[in-house]
C-alpha cells in the first residue's frame, strides 16, 4: 500500500533528522569531535551536487544487489516489511561507503532519554520553526505555545488538551484512525497512544478538578471506553484508567464554562506570544537570521537546495509546508523510536537515505525525465533490414532468373502459358471490379475510381516485380489488362 510506504518513509525521515540533530544537541558519553567530523563528512554541503547524485544512483544500484541479501525485518505488515527492507538495504548500500565507526557511535548517541524532556526540547530548537519566518498563527504550524516545535510528549498532551477542550473523544478517534490508515502507527501503538492520551487527559482532569473543583469526566468517557473496547484495545491496559474514570464520573461537575474560559485564555495567550517567541528564538542564542534558520539543514543539502529552489513568491507556501513537514516527521519518528517500533539504527539509516532520495526526486524534477528503455527493437528494425536485403535479393534473383530462363527448356512453356495466365488474371481483375461496384453501391459510396485503382495496381505491380514476387512479363500483362479496361 502506498500509504504504508509513506508511513515508513515519514518515520525514517524523522529519525534521520533526529539523529543529525542529536549529534549536535545531545550530550553523550562518547561524543567527540571525531564522530562529528566523520558524520559531517558524510553529509556536508560542500560535497558537490554531481557527486551526491552519482552516489544516489549508485545507491540505487546497490539497492538492487543488496535487496536480495536482506532478510525479513521483524515488522508487522508484509508490504511494509518489503519497503522497510528495501530502504534498509538502500541504507546499507550507502553505509558501505562509511567507516565502520559511525554506526557504533550513532547507537551510543541515540539512546532516547525519556526522563529528560529538556533534551528533546533542545533538539527541537535546532530547527525552530519561528526562524523560518513563518506566521505564528499559521494553522499549518505544529508548535508549542512557546514556539518550540512539538515533541512526542507534547503531541500526546495536545491531543489530550483538545479532547478536554472540545469534550469530544472523537478528536482522538479521528486522529488515530487516520494514522492507522496511513500505516504510521500499528494497532499496538494506537493502544499505547490511547493509553498515554488517556493518562494525560486524566491528569488534566485531575489537575483542573483540583484547581477548579471540577471533578469527573463526562459521559464521553464511558463512550470512550466503549469505543476503545470496540477497537479491540488491551483491556488490561485499560483497567487503571477506567477505574479512575469511573470514580470521577460519580462526581459530576459543571464548570465547563470555566474550562472554556481556560481555553479562551490559552488561545489569548497563544495570540499574545508571537513576539515573545520571536524574541525567545533569538534569545536562545541562535545567531542566524530566519533565512539562515535553514542552516541546520546543512546535513540535508539536497533538501536545502530544494528549499532554495522554492524561492519565488508562489513557492513560499510550499516551502513552509515542506519545512513543517520535515519537522513534524522528526517528532513522530522520535515517538516511534520511543514506542520501540524501530531501532535507532534503522532510523539512522533511513535518515541517511532521506537526502539521497531528495536528490533523486530533485534530479527527476529538474527535467531529467525518465526514459523508458527502448523495447521497440526487433520488429521495426528487422523489417527494415529485411526489406533491404530482400530488395537486394530480388534484384539478384531477377538477374539469375534472366540467366536461367535463357538456358532452361521451359522457356517456350513460358510463352505458351501467357494466354492462360492472361485469362486467369483478367478473370480475377474483372471479379474485383465487379465487387467494387457492388460494394460501393451497398455502402452508398460513390462509384469506384478506375483510374485510381489502375494507378494503385500499377504501383503494386512494380513493387512486386522489384521484390521478385512476379516476373516482369507477368507484371506487364497485368498492367496491360488494366489499361484495356
Amino acid at each position: 500500500m502506498a500509504s504504508k510506504h509513506v508511513g515508513v518513509f515519514v518515520l525514517f525521515q524523522l529519525l534521520v533528522l533526529n539523529v543529525v540533530s542529536q549529534t549536535s544537541a545531545f550530550p553523550t558519553p562518547t561524543a567527540s569531535t571525531d564522530d562529528k567530523t566523520v558524520y559531517n563528512r558524510q553529509l556536508t554541503e560542500e560535497r558537490p551536487l554531481q557527486e551526491q547524485i552519482a552516489e544516489a544512483d549508485s545507491v540505487k544500484a546497490a539497492l538492487q544487489s543488496a535487496e536480495s541479501k536482506r532478510s525479513a525485518a521483524s515488522k508487522d505488515a508484509g508490504s511494509e516489511q518489503d519497503d522497510f527492507t528495501m530502504l534498509k538495504s538502500l541504507a546499507d548500500g550507502q553505509k558501505s561507503k562509511e567507516t565502520t565507526e559511525v554506526p557504533v557511535k550513532k547507537e551510543d548517541q541515540y539512546v532516547p532519554d525519556e526522563s529528560d524532556s529538556t533534551k528533546s526540547r533542545r533538539l527541537a530548537e535546532d530547527y525552530d520553526s519561528t526562524k523560518n519566518g513563518m506566521e505564528y498563527d499559521d494553522p499549518e504550524s505544529f508548535r508549542q505555545v512557546d514556539g518550540t516545535p512539538l515533541t512526542a510528549e507534547d503531541i500526546v498532551q495536545k491531543i489530550a488538551n483538545k479532547i478536554y477542550e472540545e469534550d469530544d473523544r472523537g478528536v482522538f478517534d479521528r486522529i488515530v484512525s487516520k494514522l492507522l490508515k496511513l500505516g504510521l502507527i500499528t494497532d499496538n501503538q494506537a493502544d499505547t497512544l490511547e493509553y498515554q492520551v488517556a493518562e494525560a487527559l486524566q491528569d488534566l482532569i485531575t489537575k483542573n478538578a483540583k484547581n477548579n473543583e471540577i471533578e469527573g469526566a463526562e459521559s464521553n468517557d464511558q463512550e470512550t471506553r466503549g469505543e476503545q473496547d470496540d477497537q479491540g484495545s488491551d483491556t488490561d491496559a485499560w483497567e487503571p484508567p477506567r477505574r479512575r474514570y469511573n470514580e470521577d464520573e460519580d462526581e459530576e461537575e459543571e464548570d465547563e464554562d470555566e474550562v472554556e474560559d481556560e481555553v479562551d485564555r490559552d488561545a489569548e495567550e497563544e495570540g499574545d506570544t508571537p513576539d515573545n517567541t520571536w524574541d525567545k528564538g533569538t534569545e536562545e542564542g541562535n545567531e542566524v537570521s530566519p533565512e539562515d534558520g535553514l542552516q541546520d539543514l546543512q546535513y540535508f543539502p539536497n533538501f536545502y537546495r530544494l528549499l532554495k529552489s522554492l524561492d519565488s513568491e508562489q513557492d513560499t507556501q510550499e516551502r513552509e509546508t515542506l519545512i513543517t513537514i520535515m519537522k513534524t516527521l522528526i517528532d513522530f519518528v522520535k515517538m516511534m523510536v520511543k514506542y520501540g517500533t524501530i531501532t535507532p539504527e534503522e532510523g539512522v539509516s533511513y535518515l541517511e537515505n532521506l537526502d539521497a532520495m531528495i536528490a533523486m526526486q530533485t534530479k527527476n524534477k529538474l527535467g531529467k525525465s525518465l526514459v523508458l528503455p527502448d523495447f521497440a527493437g526487433p520488429n521495426g528494425k528487422n523489417l527494415d533490414e529485411d526489406d533491404n536485403t530482400k530488395a537486394e535479393a530480388a534484384k539478384m534473383q531477377k538477374e539469375y532468373e534472366n540467366l536461367k530462363d535463357s538456358t532452361k527448356e521451359d522457356q517456350p512453356s513460358t510463352e505458351t502459358n501467357q494466354p492462360g495466365k492472361s485469362e486467369t488474371y483478367l478473370e480475377a481483375i474483372r471479379k474485383n471490379i465487379e465487387w467494387l461496384k457492388k460494394h460501393n453501391k451497398d455502402e452508398g459510396k460513390d462509384d469506384y475510381d478506375l483510374s485510381k485503382l489502375k494507378d494503385f495496381m500499377d504501383q503494386q505491380v512494380d513493387s512486386y516485380i522489384e521484390k521478385g514476387i512476379i516476373a516482369k512479363d507477368e507484371g506487364d500483362t497485368i498492367k496491360r489488362i488494366y489499361s484495356s479496361l
Binding site: 502506498a2 515519514v10 494553522p139 505544529f142 521497440a376 478473370e427 521478385g468 514476387i469 512476379i470 507477368e474
Partner: protein, 426 residues
C-alpha cells in the same frame, strides 16, 4: 519461383491478389537455397500493417517438399477466403477484419520441384522431402526443447529461450536458408497461433515433439497442454477423416495408439528434435501445431478437391481459435505502450510478452485465471479473469513505474500533513 509448378503457385496467388487487392498482399520472407522466393499471401483488412490488438496467424505448408496436399490446400484457402469475402460471408468478413492471416503455401519450393518432377504417378516417399542441401527442415530448427527441459529441472526462463536470437541465427552455419527465413519471420511478426501442414498421416499433432527422457515414445506435455489439446481438436473435429475413430491407420503396421479424437501429443507419437512446431512455442509467443493431412504424401491432382472438402471447415475454424483466451494492452500510467512486458498466468509455466504496441494475446482454455503484467522498473499488476471458450476477453493493464510510486508517496505525505494540521488545528 521458377519451374512450372512454381509459376502455377505464383499465378494462383497473384490471381487472388488481383481479385481481392484491398484485403491481400503478397510478400516474400526470403529465398530457398536455389533462389526461389518463399512467398506469403497475407489477408487482412489492412494488408501490410500490424493493427495494434489484432492477432497474427500463419499457416505454413510443404516444408517437406514431397508433402504436397497442404500446399494445394492453402491455395484453395486463399481463393476461398477471397471469394467468400466478396460474396458477403459474414464469418469470413469478420475473420479477415479482425485477424491478420498469413499463408505460406510452400516453405520448401526446391524440394517440391524435385518431388513434382518425378516421372509417373507414384512419388517416392523421400524424394523432395529435404531442401536442396539435403537438410530436413523439420529437424533443422534450434533445439529449444532440450533447454526447456533443463530449465524445468534447474530453474530458468520459461519462454523466449533463444537468447540474442538474431545474432544466433545469422551466425549459425547449420541453418538452411529456408529455416533462417522462417525464424526471422517469427521474430518480425508477433504471431499468436499457427499450424504447419504435412502429409503421410492424418492427425493433429501438438507440443512437445521431443521427449523429455530421449525415449522414442513418451507423452511430453507442455505447460499449455490443455490449450493445445483444445486447439488440435478444434482442427480435427471438422475433418471427418481425421476425427473418425474407426479410421484404419494409413499403413497396416503404423502405430497410431497415441491418436485420440484425431489428435496426438508429439512425443507420444514419436520423438522429433529440432522441429518448427516446438521452436515457435519456445522462442516466441506463437502456439503452433502440426497437421498431417493425408496418408498419401503426394496424391494425384484429381484427389485435391476431396482433400479440400475434408479440410475446408477445419482450416477456417482453426484460424478462429486465435480469438480465444485473454488479450489486451500493457501501458504505463500515461497511456504509453510498454513493449516486451511479461504477461504471466498463475498455474501455467509459460509467459507471453507484449509486442511493440504493448499488445498481447494469451490463448487460454475456459476457466478462472489470475493474469499478471510486469516489466522492469514497474510495479506488477495482477487481475482475475473468467475466461469463456471464446471470444477473447479484453484485459488491459496500466503499470505504475517505481518512480511514480515514490512521487505518489510524497504527495500522500503532503496530504497527510494537511489532514493532520486540520484535525489537530494547533
Amino acid at each position: 519461383a521458377s519451374g512450372k509448378r512454381g509459376r502455377e503457385l505464383r499465378k494462383a496467388l497473384v490471381s487472388v491478389w488481383l481479385q481481392c487487392p484491398t484485403i491481400t498482399r503478397i510478400y516474400t520472407i526470403g529465398e530457398s537455397f536455389e533462389g526461389r522466393e518463399l512467398l506469403v499471401l497475407e489477408m487482412s483488412d489492412n494488408p501490410g500493417t500490424h493493427e495494434p490488438g489484432e492477432p497474427e496467424f500463419k499457416y505454413i505448408a510443404n516444408m517437406h517438399g514431397n508433402e504436397a496436399v497442404g500446399r494445394e490446400l492453402l491455395i484453395y484457402l486463399a481463393q476461398y477466403l477471397c471469394n467468400q469475402y466478396q460474396q458477403g460471408n459474414e464469418t469470413i468478413i469478420d475473420l479477415i477484419h479482425n485477424t491478420r492471416i498469413h499463408l505460406m503455401p510452400s516453405m520448401n519450393p526446391d524440394g517440391f520441384e524435385k518431388a513434382a518432377s518425378q516421372p509417373g504417378e507414384i512419388k517416392d516417399w523421400f524424394v523432395g522431402r529435404s531442401n536442396a542441401q539435403g537438410v530436413d527442415l523439420n529437424r533443422n530448427f534450434p533445439d529449444l526443447d532440450r533447454i526447456i527441459y533443463i530449465n524445468e529441472r534447474e530453474g530458468g526462463a520459461n519462454n523466449h529461450l533463444l537468447q540474442n536470437m538474431k545474432k544466433a541465427v545469422d551466425e549459425n552455419t547449420k541453418l538452411a536458408p529456408e529455416t533462417k527465413s522462417v525464424i526471422h519471420w517469427i521474430m518480425d511478426i508477433p504471431f499468436v497461433l499457427s499450424a504447419n501442414l504435412h502429409g503421410g498421416d492424418v492427425v493433429a499433432n501438438y507440443p512437445y515433439d521431443e521427449t523429455r527422457t530421449g525415449s522414442t515414445h513418451e507423452y511430453s506435455a507442455s505447460p499449455d497442454d490443455v490449450m493445445f489439446k483444445s486447439l488440435a481438436r478444434a482442427y480435427s473435429m471438422y475433418n471427418p477423416v481425421m476425427s473418425d475413430p474407426q479410421r484404419p491407420p494409413c499403413r497396416k503396421n503404423d502405430d497410431d495408439s497415441s491418436f485420440k479424437d484425431g489428435i496426438t501429443n508429439g512425443g507420444a507419437w514419436y520423438s522429433v528434435p529440432g522441429g518448427m512446431q516446438d521452436f515457435n512455442y519456445l522462442s516466441s509467443n506463437c502456439f503452433e501445431i502440426t497437421l498431417e493431412l493425408s496418408c498419401d504424401k503426394f496424391p494425384n491432382e484429381d484427389t485435391l478437391k476431396n482433400y479440400w472438402d475434408q479440410n475446408r471447415n477445419s482450416l477456417v475454424n482453426y484460424i478462429e481459435q486465435v480469438h480465444r483466451g485473454v488479450k489486451g494492452f500493457v501501458r504505463d500510467l500515461q497511456g504509453n505502450p510498454i513493449s516486451n512486458a511479461t504477461v504471466s498466468v498463475e498455474g501455467i509455466d509459460h509467459d507471453m510478452t507484449t509486442a511493440k504496441d504493448g499488445d498481447y494475446w494469451r490463448l487460454l482454455a475456459p476457466g478462472n485465471y489470475k493474469v499478471a503484467a510486469s516489466a522492469p522498473g514497474y510495479l506488477t499488476v495482477i487481475k482475475k479473469v473468467a475466461v469463456p471458450y471464446s471470444p477473447a476477453t479484453r484485459v488491459d493493464f496500466e503499470l505504475e513505474s517505481l518512480m511514480e510510486r515514490k512521487e505518489e508517496e510524497r504527495e500522500e505525505l503532503m496530504d497527510w500533513w494537511k489532514m493532520m494540521s486540520e484535525t489537530l488545528n494547533f
